[in-house]
């Protein structure tokens, strides 16, 4: 799978054939049948209590930031999690790396529930799950040299590298993330945002983890630098056989890097599936609305596509609607939606059909609706496409293809 990914990256966006091939193979083989998930998240919840009173605090409610999230992460894959601000993406990330303790639910790393670990056992698990932070300006200690920052993991886990070899390891890591190993004695303020994010990535890699949780790793960066960092992550994934949980609000970046995508709304995953399934065959109305807001570079295609404008605001996570939490803004909402919580499962009407729409979607009235225009209309001729390097643009035109061909073959 890594080879496939690499190949598709190497041959570039223009070589549609190989991309198509590798993508198709990937979808067929992984991640659904291959091995057990490396990380299983079940019913994960984080409620922040709302209290009243100064001395005798009384709980009057809870902000349900994350409220029952389920997903699996397979070895070597990238799971993208998208959603708007405040939907609980970052809280999920923090719980995965144990910066927040879940209120309920389980996070099973290779079968072991790490949510309840503490002390030495927790420290051992931390080695395998590391985080890349959103803001490269606050995630590096301004008073530590780069060598100290990247070397700190080895000080905390001295068993990983003997003392004498640490400096060399730090320089190797700098090299791996595309920075000059001679930077080792510099301070973070001497670097640009993109370089700082590379330092943050090197720190995350130091312990040789199996899983990296990246919480909006590029949203604080310039668009041109975003692509470099995303491509770096892509390359590192192949090099170190990493599994990524990639959290972002930028749909095109998530699509570029992810094998599977989960869409979150108000503390829950509403739809999850492979990137082609989600982007080309969304069945949940929220996903459809979200996708219809993605900017389309081609003006003719833009004229053809349908914009779904949602009305109202996201309800407060302290006061979540009954039944389906999206019903207050959904154009399909009916009485059933207020009474029954839709489960995240393959909707009944798609269960027996072999279509890309057959993926988990938490909607009573799930139906396929294509919002991103089909690839033919989107094909943008011009200078960007035949670029030999993987282009900085994370445009949908390359990845559009597997989806459509799949649709045709099925």
């Amino acid at each position: 799978m890594h080879a496939d990914r690499d190949e598709s990256a190497g041959t570039g966006g223009g070589a549609a054939g190989s991309t198509l091939l590798s993508k198709a193979r990937e979808d067929a083989v992984t991640p659904y049948t291959e091995g057990d998930p490396i990380l299983q998240v079940r019913d994960l919840a984080k409620h922040y209590p709302l209290t009243q009173g100064i001395l005798l605090k009384r709980q009057i409610g809870a902000v349900r930031a994350v409220d029952g999230v389920d997903f699996d992460l397979y070895a070597g894959e990238t799971l993208g999690i998208v959603g708007e601000s405040g939907c609980g993406k970052s809280t999920v990330a923090k719980m995965l790396v144990h910066l927040e303790r879940p209120t309920a639910g389980a996070i099973r790393y290779k079968g072991e529930d790490i949510a309840k670990l503490s002390g030495r056992a927790l420290k051992a698990v931390r080695r395998n799950i590391q985080m890349v932070f959103q803001d490269p300006y606050t995630s590096l200690n301004p008073r530590m040299t780069v060598g100290d920052i990247i070397g700190e993991p080895y000080e905390i886990h001295p068993e990983v590298a003997p003392k004498g070899s640490r400096r060399q390891k730090v320089q190797d890591l700098l090299d791996v993330v595309g920075l000059n190993p001679e930077y080792i004695n510099r301070y973070p303020h001497q670097f640009s945002g993109g370089q700082r994010q590379r330092i943050g990535i090197a720190r995350g890699l130091a312990l040789n983890p199996e899983i990296i949780v990246a919480d909006e790793p590029v949203s604080a960066l310039d668009v041109s630098v975003q692509a470099q960092v995303v491509n770096l992550l892509d390359r590192l994934q192949a090099e170190f056989s990493l599994s990524f949980v990639f959290i972002a609000h930028d749909l095109s970046i998530v699509r570029h890097i992810s094998d599977r995508v989960g869409v979150m709304y108000l503390g829950r995953i509403v739809e999850i599936g492979s990137d082609a399934e989600i982007y080309d065959h969304p069945t949940h109305p929220y996903t459809q609305a979200l996708l219809s807001a993605v900017p389309v570079p081609d003006p003719t295609a833009r004229a053809h596509r349908e914009r779904i404008i949602l009305h109202g605001d996201v309800p407060s996570p302290a006061n979540i609607p009954s039944g389906c939490r999206f019903r207050t803004r959904c154009w399909k909402a009916q009485e059933r939606c207020a009474l029954e919580v839709p489960l995240l499962a393959v909707p009944a009407e798609f269960r027996l059909v072999d279509t890309p729409a057959r993926h988990d979607s938490a909607c009573h009235f799930a139906e396929e609706k294509r919002v991103v225009p089909p690839e033919g209309e989107l094909e943008v001729p011009g200078p960007t496409e035949p670029a030999p390097e993987k282009p900085g643009r994370t445009g949908p035109e390359t990845e559009e293809k597997p989806g459509t061909t799949e649709g045709e073959t099925s």
């Binding site: 931390r126 640009s192 692509a227």
Partner: protein, 325 residues
């Protein structure tokens, strides 16, 4: 320190080539400007904040001057007879308020005692009170304030209310009450009293800056790596939260020396045969129009001492901030 050419690394080559090109160019642009200006280069010893700060301090003239002044003050407070041969208590009323004359460069005080000798001998008391009280206040205050800020919760609530209580005690009134029951004629009761009333000020500042520092992502990153609380406090929070404490503590040092004077003037600080700048300043302040020299010499000594400590604090604070290098 090196020019922040990092920014151009992000902007200029971005349009030119693919991501890997950029990485190379970043490296290349660095090659032109290898290592620091110090010439130690990448092959040199690994560096850390403290070694860099020390190297920085050694070349800082402000630090060198203030360190020399402080060393001098410490030496004469231990051996005042090195530079003053007279007796600070020997009084001759015939000489009262006289100006400078040979052998007595600073003149005489209202009791006819030699001002120069008294300034030299007063150093011990004043420097002891200033330095010990400041150290005590800074250590106690940053310990309590820092722990309260770091752990929050109940500790924080209790500590915050406690500081409010201490802030409510008027200094002079508190001094009259606390120190009038003490009979010792040494400086230690005064030092103890100042520490008792002074620590909440530093505690509040330390608490605030620890709370600010601990919200930074790098503290979270350290926690995600499995760092212990003590590592997070020592490596990440302390260096980033200590600057305001240093500033306030060095300024407070002067205040404490004059507070000792106030207390001595009120008769609850040092008892009479004691020699201190504060005692002399308050005694001379009544004669400022007739004989200003009696006030100016001890006040000048006090000013130089305070200035030296403030400069030292400033230099240390700057050395601990890599951005200023």
């Amino acid at each position: 320190m090196p020019e922040p050419q990092s920014s151009d690394g992000a902007i200029s080559p971005a349009g030119a080539g693919g991501p890997m090109d950029l990485a190379l160019e970043e490296g290349a642009s660095l090659e032109k400007n290898p290592a620091g200006p110090d010439g130690t280069g990448p092959a040199g010893k690994p560096r850390s904040l403290w070694s860099d700060a020390w190297r920085d301090l050694r070349r800082n003239p402000v630090f060198i001057i203030s360190a020399l002044v402080i060393t001098f003050l410490v030496i004469i407070s231990i051996w005042p007879s090195l530079i003053a041969s007279g007796d600070p208590l020997q009084a001759n009323l015939d000489d009262a308020q006289k100006g400078s004359e040979p052998g007595h460069p600073f003149g005489f005080d209202p009791q006819g005692r030699d001002v120069y000798t008294r300034v030299v001998y007063g150093t011990r008391t004043s420097v002891t009170v200033g330095v010990c009280a400041t150290l005590g206040v800074a250590i106690l205050g940053s310990l309590f304030g820092g722990l309260a800020g770091f752990f929050g919760g109940w500790w924080d609530s209790i500590l915050s209310r406690l500081t409010d209580v201490f802030f409510g005690i008027p200094v002079v009134l508190g001094g009259l009450v606390f120190l009038s029951v003490v009979t010792s004629s040494t400086v230690w009761p005064v030092v103890g009293f100042i520490v008792l009333l002074g620590w909440p000020q530093i505690a509040r500042i330390a608490r605030g800056s620890v709370i600010t520092a601990k919200q930074n992502d790098y503290v979270q990153a350290a926690r995600a790596l499995g760092a212990s609380n003590s590592r997070m406090m020592l490596r990440h929070i302390t260096p980033n939260a200590i600057a305001p404490v240093i500033v306030v503590a060095t300024i407070a040092l002067g205040t404490y020396i004059s507070l000792e004077a106030t207390l001595s003037y009120l008769g609850v600080g040092l008892k009479d045969p004691a020699v201190s700048w504060g005692i002399d300043i308050s005694a001379a302040s009544n004669y400022i129009r007739n004989a200003p020299h009696m006030l100016l010499w001890p006040a000048g000594a006090l000013a130089i001492t305070v200035l030296a400590f403030i400069m030292l604090g400033d230099a240390v604070r700057d050395a601990l901030d890599p951005k200023l290098r």
